[in-house]
Every structure is written in C-alpha cells, then in structure tokens.
Amino acid sequence: MSFDVNITRRLGEAEIALAFRAEGGLTALFGPSGSGKTSTLNMIAGLLRPERGHIIVDGEMLFGEDVDLPAERRRAGYVFQDGRLFPHLRVRANLLYGRRGAGWIGFDDVVALLGLGALLDRWPRTLSGGEKQRVAIGRALLSNPRFLLMDEPLASLDGARADEIMGMIERVRDELKLPILYVSHNRAEVDRLATQIVPVRR
C-alpha cells in the first residue's frame, strides 16, 4: 500500500501545495490550523478538486491528467472532525449506509471492535461526542475502504474519551492493517499514533 500525493490548489488567499509519499501504517499530516490539511484530505477523498497535481493510491490514479475519479468510486473511508453522522438515520442505518458487497470486515466484527452494540438503535443526536466518533469510524470501516482518512477525530473530545478513541485507532492500524492518513495539530496524538509524519507548513 502506498500513497503518492502531489497537489496544488488556491483557496481564497492561501495556496495549498503539498507533496508526499507514504507507505501503509498511520501517516500523520502534522501542522498548524489553516495550513490546508483538511483541504488536502478533501482533495484525496474527491470532495474538492485540485488545480494541478496527482493523487495515486496503490498504483491507481485517483486524480491526475485526464483522471478525476468521483468520490463514490475512490473507496476512501473518511472520518470527519465532526463525525457527520446522518441525523435522520439511526446508528445501525448510519453504519450500514456505505455497505458494499461482503467487504473484508463484517458488521458484527466492527460492532465488537468499536463497542457499538448498545448504540445501534439510538439516534445520532442522542450520542455523546466519543460515541459519535466511534460510529463514524465504524461507518467508514464498513464502506469497504482501501484506506482511511481521519480529520482530527479527537478534536472535540476530552482526555479520557480521546484516549479511548486513540486505542481504537491503534487497533484499526495494527489489527486491520488499514493504511490511514491522519490530520492533526496535536503533537502528543501524532507521537502516539503515527508511523510516519508529514510536516505541513503554512
């Protein structure tokens, strides 16, 4: 598994230009807020179009000259900073929204891995911040992704909750061997989770 990313895009005043290569494991894009880390993830996910450059994952070009794969065909499991659960669907339906075929991980496995059993019939608005993020991670895993994108998934959590989610991210990294691109501005988080660090400057 490898990432080869080289993208440029102007966003308002700022120009985002980032190039890196990464192998499997958890690669942290580490830098201050406003340096374009989230935009970079959006471009890799296919939600934002780069002006120039290329995005190649495992030898397959997702974006490049004459190539712009739509988001739904990139198989990127995206865990957003705010969870972004669908408010009109219960937890179970949220988890199953992206279910494609058999996938390499079963529903029950994800529920067990992330401890979601008691939450399945709840509405997203009744969940705490930590519960929301666990569901968001589960939803991304169940969409049969080739890799995960995580955008500051711990930002809205207190210390104990953040610690719990970090444990789960480690399990995804080590037990599921799923490559992860992880955005953060928190040094301690990055030191604990990352197998590779890409510094992002403003």
Partner: protein, 228 residues
C-alpha cells in the same frame, strides 16, 4: 349541510388536491434549481416564480385566460393536440389554484433544501453513494419537512383561491364554483346567509385541519422543524 354544500366542498377538495399534487414536482424542481443552481437568469426565474404572490390575482387570472384560452398559445396547443380545454372546467380552476400556490410551495421547499448540510452529502459520496442515491437518501429526506410544509401551504392557498379562478374560469356551479366563490355568490343573494355560515365554518375547519395534520406529520418524521 345541503347537497349543494357538499357539492361545493367536494369540488373544492378535488381542485385543491389535484392542483397541489400536480404542482409539487414542479415546485420541488424549481426550489432545487433556485437553492443550488448557479446559472444566468436565476434572479429572473426567481422573480417569475414569485410573481403570482405579488400580482393582483385578477391579473394572474387574466394572463391565464390569454395563455390557456382556446386561441391562446398553450390552450390552442392543448385543444389541437390533446383535445383538452380548461375553459369553464374544474381543471382550469385547478390550474389557477396551482399557479397561485406555486410560489408558497417553492419558498417552503427551497428554505428546507438550503438548510440541508451539504457536508452530509459529501459524506454520503465518500461512502460510495452516487449523486442520485445521495439525493434520494440524504437531500430529499432531510428536506421533507419543507416539502410537507409546502404541501400544506399550497393546499390552504388552493382552497382559498378566488380572484385568479373567477377571472380565468368564471363561476360555474359544479365546475368552478369553489368554496370562496360559492360564499361570495351566496352573499349576493338575500336569504342565503345560512349557506355562508356553513361554508365559512367548513373553510375554517379545513384550514385548521391541514395545519394540525402537517404539524403531526413533521413530528412523526422525528425532525425538530415546524411548519408554523
């Protein structure tokens, strides 16, 4: 209630339901276009959609008469190719009611589409949903409260339609004499106060019922939005 009263009520319900059901897809398409589209002429389209709201209803009715009359551009086409005429028919009353209801329905639906968090649509795309599935499973259900609100407002507006209807398709018992027109007609005749009272009470009951129903529908949907 006399048989004549029932006829008026039945006709009014038929006209209003057909008007709202026919206009709903158009209203949704226009609302979506106005909420999401970026194209030249958007402001003009917005203004045209809202025109029946500010134009004197009599003028709207007269314009419909010109367009849908047997020699008019649309009426002539309908007559020639489909053998349909709207003049002095309940279908014409439904067209008038639909045109008058359209801006209210577009407004309600458009507001709810604008309130849909587009980032949720992005999340759906990353989960493998194409544009159509994203629309059907995210955008549409999340704007449903606006669609319901639009239906109720449109229905209430259609039941109350007077000016455009009477100037477009006149006052024909059993065809175009809807509730307000029947009340107006009864007011002109000495000794018909009883019918006025009965039909006025029915109007109040229908309007109240529609509002309560919509509120219940919205609540059952689990959303915290309100029609009122």
């Amino acid at each position: 209630m006399t048989p004549a009263d029932w006829e008026v009520i039945r006709l009014s319900l038929k006209v209003a339901l057909v008007a709202v059901a026919t206009v709903l897809p158009v209203a949704f398409a226009l609302a979506y276009l106005l909420a999401r589209g970026r194209f030249p002429g958007r402001i003009l389209l917005d203004a045209i959609v809202h025109l029946p709201l500010v134009l004197p209803p009599v003028v709207t009715g007269w314009l419909l008469l010109i367009a849908f009359g047997r020699t008019g551009p649309i009426g002539g086409w309908l007559d020639r190719w489909l053998g349909i005429t709207l003049m002095f028919r309940w279908t014409g009353a439904a067209v008038a009611a639909g045109v008058m209801a359209l801006p209210l329905m577009v407004r309600a639906i458009r507001l709810s589409i604008e309130a849909v968090d587009r980032r949720l649509e992005g999340a759906a795309r990353t989960l493998g949903a194409g544009p159509v599935r994203t629309f059907l499973t995210i955008t549409l259900p999340l704007s449903l409260s606006g669609v319901l609100a639009g239906l109720v407002l449109g229905f209430a507006r259609s039941i109350g339609e007077f000016g455009a209807t009477i100037s477009f398709v006149s006052n024909i018992p059993g065809q175009t004499r809807t509730l307000p027109i029947a009340i107006y007609t009864a007011l002109q005749v000495p000794g018909e106060e009883g019918q006025v009272v009965r039909l006025a009470l029915v109007s109040v009951a229908l309007s109240l019922g529609a509002l309560v129903l919509s509120e219940l529908l919205v609540r059952r949907q689990g959303a915290r939005a309100h029609v009122l």
